[in-house]
Symmetry: C2
Subunit: 386 residues, 2 copies
């Protein structure tokens, strides 16, 4: 086992922060120690901003590795003023697709590829799947650009974080949207194209636009909406100004329904923010009666159906949950992930094996339970009051 | 001016609580000192539960008067289990209308009638209007039943708290729903009928029902819904068990639209709770596709229209607000209320005179501003992001 006081020294050097600050942050739980299971190395992650480093920063003291947290991307509620005020001076923007999965930072350590979640945890499932899909490609890339971080969206119906089907992704997929230098600098759009040469996939780019081409960009959003896709990210071509995201009606509706299925766990902020996005989109698109009515009807349907599904699930099964199918190449990877899920969720999520094939493949299902909703709906069903 | 240490002694006696506890509560702001303007007497109110007394308890130390806070009425989300678990042993319930106004407790002090809000403030407007409508009736009642408290709903389109038209109320109205003894005991339904003899009005009673007559009660709710009215309160005929309230779809929809007009001030909890009520009502009524769709469409329309109105108001007028017309019998009452509004809202609400008639009548308008919504919508309109 590593000597914790040694770790503090190293953390202090890596984060360029006094030792007592690091110690305090560990005490307060701002910096947390995590032990991986493959192989057993120790790392630290920040669960809040610390010393100028974003939440989700991951540090491996034994290797001097620093993986900066991925900055939160601000959301545009009205595209026209947002484009003007954010990118007015640059004049041009790159519009890329925002896919609906989870943000993953891929890095190399001791010649192996690892995937970190937004929160700074090394996820064995994501790592496993990434190695399956792109191990050689990533290793080659890191050989040529050591110390860089490949940032992308991990998507697909077998994504335990956000399960959504993508025709281009089969069960899971990984689409690069950024590369970051060891210094923390993001690569420009031009530089980023290099990942294509390594056989990695990139999120779709819809092209470069003038800041004034708002209508063009809205057209892309409407098209994505019709296809049931999430939205766009708008970037400075040089990737110097912070990007903006903007999402579709269908994404909002989908999230609202989901939020109401687990209303007592997610509710509040979640619901309000999604509906507010709808209001501003409707306003910017100058919607008249018919469109307003359609938009409203779809939001309302999502709310009522989400709630009905919640109640019916608790009536029929006694708890509120969702299930996501996962496939592992081997029993070993399954167990690593099972151990991870147990530690991270404290047992509210659990894995069950559905099938073990002869070639070692394990088909499993992850059950994510929402106890708040389960308990409260049960109580209401029994006593009629909350 | 009263001697504060004397007040503490008296408060301590009235609330049957040690002096140091009362002092602490005053320090912490749990018990607050208020000065009325008509005539200038001093009272205290509790803004949280204290020593077993409900929030909104009002004490006038100089007169030894104690006005208990009105207990929060629990909400039924599913009528059938709620009736069974709450009133199963009693077997019978009284169903009264729940009107949409503000809860007022009327009491007598030095031969004058005063009206207290839920929060324990003596509201000059409510007091003024009540005296206009029922001064003699109330005085007679208090003469016969000294120390009692007459609890009722103050409603109407000229209600500054909740402005809703009621055909039976003209501009404002007051409908008794409870009478409380000095001891805190609520009068039974039978006893309460006495207020009729004094010429006071009572909220509508739909009759006495068996706990098992759930379908009958639902029918009343549906009828109220069609009329755009708020809902019902279900009571133990002896008024010993705590009552339950249950509200209509149209009330939820109306509140949702209103909440979204001022989304950044009210939002969050407000929206979630209203929509959750809809989900359970729909479930209990076993709604099928067509009804579900209609319910959803109405909720969605309320959300989208509420938001649109918010944005449009800020675009056109630079702030988010609502206005309520108020009429005063004299300049004096207007000024008392204006002073009250200034003190209580710190200036976010303000009064403007529209007309002063020859007979002294003052027609005014109360503007209630929602700064959170005004500021945030303005920012989004300018910068596109929040």
């Amino acid at each position: 086992m590593a000597d914790p006081s040694k770790d503090v020294k190293k953390l202090s050097m890596i984060l360029e922060s006094e030792e007592w600050r690091v110690e305090k942050a560990i005490e307060r739980g701002t910096i947390r120690r995590v032990r991986t299971s493959f192989p057993g190395f120790v790392y630290y992650r920040t669960v809040r901003e610390f010393a100028g480093f974003e939440r989700g920063t991951l540090i491996v003291p034994s290797h001097g590795l620093l993986l900066r947290g991925f900055p939160k991307i601000e959301r545009a509620l009205l595209l026209e003023p947002a484009l003007r005020s954010r990118f007015g001076e640059v004049g041009k923007v790159i519009v890329e697709e925002k896919m609906n999965g989870h943000n993953v930072r891929v890095f190399e350590l001791d010649g192996e590829v690892y995937a970190a979640t937004r929160g700074g945890l090394i996820c064995p499932y994501t790592t496993h799947k990434l190695r399956n899909m792109f191990e050689d490609e990533l290793k080659q890339f890191f050989e040529d650009y050591p110390g860089t971080v490949v940032c992308g969206e991990f998507v697909g119906k077998e994504n335990p974080y956000v399960s959504r089907e993508y025709p281009e992704a089969r069960d899971v997929g990984f689409f690069v949207f950024d590369v970051r230098d060891p210094s923390g600098r993001f690569w420009s759009y031009e530089e980023k194209l290099k990942v294509d040469e390594y056989g990695l996939e990139r999120v779709r780019c819809f092209g470069e636009f003038e800041v004034s081409e708002v209508e063009e960009i809205h057209r892309i959003v409407r098209e994505l909406d019709r296809e049931g896709r999430e939205g766009i990210v708008i970037k400075d071509p040089d990737r110097k100004l912070p990007p903006l995201k903007y999402t579709t009606h269908s994404a909002h509706v989908e999230e609202i329904e989901w939020a109401f299925r687990f209303a007592f766990d997610l509710g509040r902020d979640f619901v309000l923010t999604r509906t507010i996005r709808e209001g501003f989109q409707s306003f910017e698109w100058c919607e008249k009666d018919r469109e307003l009515k359609r938009r409203g009807a779809e939001i309302g349907r999502a709310i009522v159906e989400g709630l009905r599904r919640a109640v019916e699930q608790v009536v029929e099964e006694g708890e509120a949950y969702e299930e996501i199918p996962l496939t592992f190449e081997s029993r070993e990877w399954f167990e690593r992930y099972e151990d991870f899920v147990k530690r991270v969720t404290g047992g509210t999520h659990s894995l069950k094996i559905i099938e073990e094939k002869e070639d070692g493949t394990v088909r499993a299902v992850l059950r994510k339970r929402y106890f708040g909703t389960g308990d409260k709906v049960s109580r209401i069903l029994e006593e009629g009051v909350l």
